[in-house]
Symmetry: C2
Amino acid sequence: MPGILSDLRIVEVSAFVAAPLGGMTLAQLGADVIRIDPIGGNIDIGRWPLAPDGTSLYWASLNKAKRSVCIAVNTPEGQEIARALICAPGENAGFLLTNLPTGTWMGYETLRKGRDDLIMLRLIGNSDGSGAVDYTINCASGFPMATGRGGEPVNHVLPAWDVAAGLYLSTGLLAADRARQRTGRGQEVTLALSDVMLATVSNLGYLADVQVNNAVRPPIGNDLYGAFGRDFPTRDGRRAMLVAISNRQWRAIGKATGLAAQLAMVGPMMQVDLDTEAGRFAARHAICAVLEPWFAARTLAEVHEKLDGSGVLWGPYQDFGQLVHEDSRCSAVNPLFGEIDQPGAGRILANAGPLGFSENGRVPPAPAPRLGEHTESVLSELLGLSSAQYGRLHDAGIVAGPAAR
Amino acid sequence: MPGILSDLRIVEVSAFVAAPLGGMTLAQLGADVIRIDPIGGNIDIGRWPLAPDGTSLYWASLNKAKRSVCIAVNTPEGQEIARALICAPGENAGFLLTNLPTGTWMGYETLRKGRDDLIMLRLIGNSDGSGAVDYTINCASGFPMATGRGGEPVNHVLPAWDVAAGLYLSTGLLAADRARQRTGRGQEVTLALSDVMLATVSNLGYLADVQVNNAVRPPIGNDLYGAFGRDFPTRDGRRAMLVAISNRQWRAIGKATGLAAQLAMVGPMMQVDLDTEAGRFAARHAICAVLEPWFAARTLAEVHEKLDGSGVLWGPYQDFGQLVHEDSRCSAVNPLFGEIDQPGAGRILANAGPLGFSENGRVPPAPAPRLGEHTESVLSELLGLSSAQYGRLHDAGIVAGPAAR
């Protein structure tokens, strides 16, 4: 199956995480996403981690299923070619996705001269136009001060704001496409990375809590806030995260561990109603005191045996290696994954997009291109360039094909 | 302006974060999102944080700009009404967004009998159908083991997988709508929360690093991996996050702090090229040793004065209270925000969607409904129920309007 967006063509001029992820999300739904990079690659081409031959596994992972075109966009002729690709005709084309500063050649008004109905998505740092990246936004979000056990802020390692921004971009592009189908009009869609953070903090109720209660959520380690949940060390030095949100899940813990009677004593002892989330949160230390020995007496494998299928909501802690080696969800058993031949990395397990469509299926995992792999074919296909014309541009250093490695 | 999706109508049967966020993302683009809840509310209706009168600020924040309908979906008559709402006619309707277990009444095949082109988005825990929530997936992701300074795993507090899942749902709904516009066919779209995690870990290169290099990213505190960045305490007990990814940003640090000459000595001393990300990462402790006294001698306000507008990429750490009280981005100065009257919470600052559209503008922030606020109007509008018919259903306990508080 060709994918639900297989008729869409998008040009991406991007770097780092958010915009490439936005493009890749659409590519993994079947869209033809053409990433234009300067010759030699953009600023993210060598980001860590690297494969032994120097290939960036970061870049390769964030640009799967795209096509790659290399153009000297610092030259007028290169800019002209890039503009022609961005503005190339087609009802389901005319999309530009970018997080790079839009100098003169890539300004929306300039580009519109080539295609009046262009849809341009632009990720910026702050809504006032100043710069920001995930790290300099995360520190301001409040989350590092509420993470860990207190004393000092803890940055989460997941670039969560970039990930969310990438998915807002894919949503925004499809919304703008839908509007253009109806009105014939394109538009510029702007997203500030700090607005993604601010909207999310607000959406989760943190801003309201400050405004209404003057309450600032403190760090409480790995405890859930307002419900029961925490991590428990096991006998073999592993850990399990245990959670009970519903009463059904709470009762399942007592049943599966055989500790129901002891756990029931916590209610009167702590004078709370354990059939409420608030009660379980208030009594969480006493609850954990009952459960700790149970986990400490068992290996993670034994915890699996007792809790899997019991209705208990729990999960094992894994490092990235254990995720790859121990978790069957992270294997070809899961339809999300398949093996690909990734230039520079070899044959590896890689993911498709996570959305499954009953009519359109799922586009199988595809590797990232080599940098410049599609320069010649895209210029031929979209702009009708002959081999001779391509050769001239190539020899003049205006475009480049894949580098020999 | 009515919003870019103002002709869309979506029914949501949901709880917690991901599915409500997916619906709210579309509501904030103008879609009419009707959340159906059991009478008295779903399992998330009382989640913390709460306003003094017991209103859930969590629920209110995640359901802004929607309409609320209360139906006894545990009764055959209630199920019939809910089905009729989900399947109500309209070219731009016939969408169901849910993360609840789809018992008989809400199965896709059952619902399709009422509307053959129904688009149903279903968030599940794991792709094999087993249950999972953000917390029990996050522990398995590898991130808690790579967060903090090591020794024990650190859960990030942001429900990042739920947030990403919500935005995959909004992307997936628009993709399915686009396909239906072309083919006339609806479909079931399935998303597993753990697949969102797995895809993201893979997209960011962590899985490839394990497979290609057998390397498992260790925790390195608040240091950036593979580049220069860290937090620095200031004289007044605050902290600043400082980052240099490009060489331009790196040189800006030397210039703005007046420490360029001293920083330049780090290169030969540590035998690295400070004009590369890898060199700056390798020499980060020496770089930080030079910069620490600079921050320690200044208040956060003085750091602002020196670094703002200097080209240095940095940000202050803030707790949620400081974010609300000190950060102008978190105020009505930012077009993202506006004041709303939120029932139970009063007049508060709340966010619109973060995407700005040059043609369609941005839908202003809107409050969440009171539970059941729109039951009567929606049943009248979509199903043509008279006041008398509504009254009968209401008195029979099949539907409910807003509870008096």
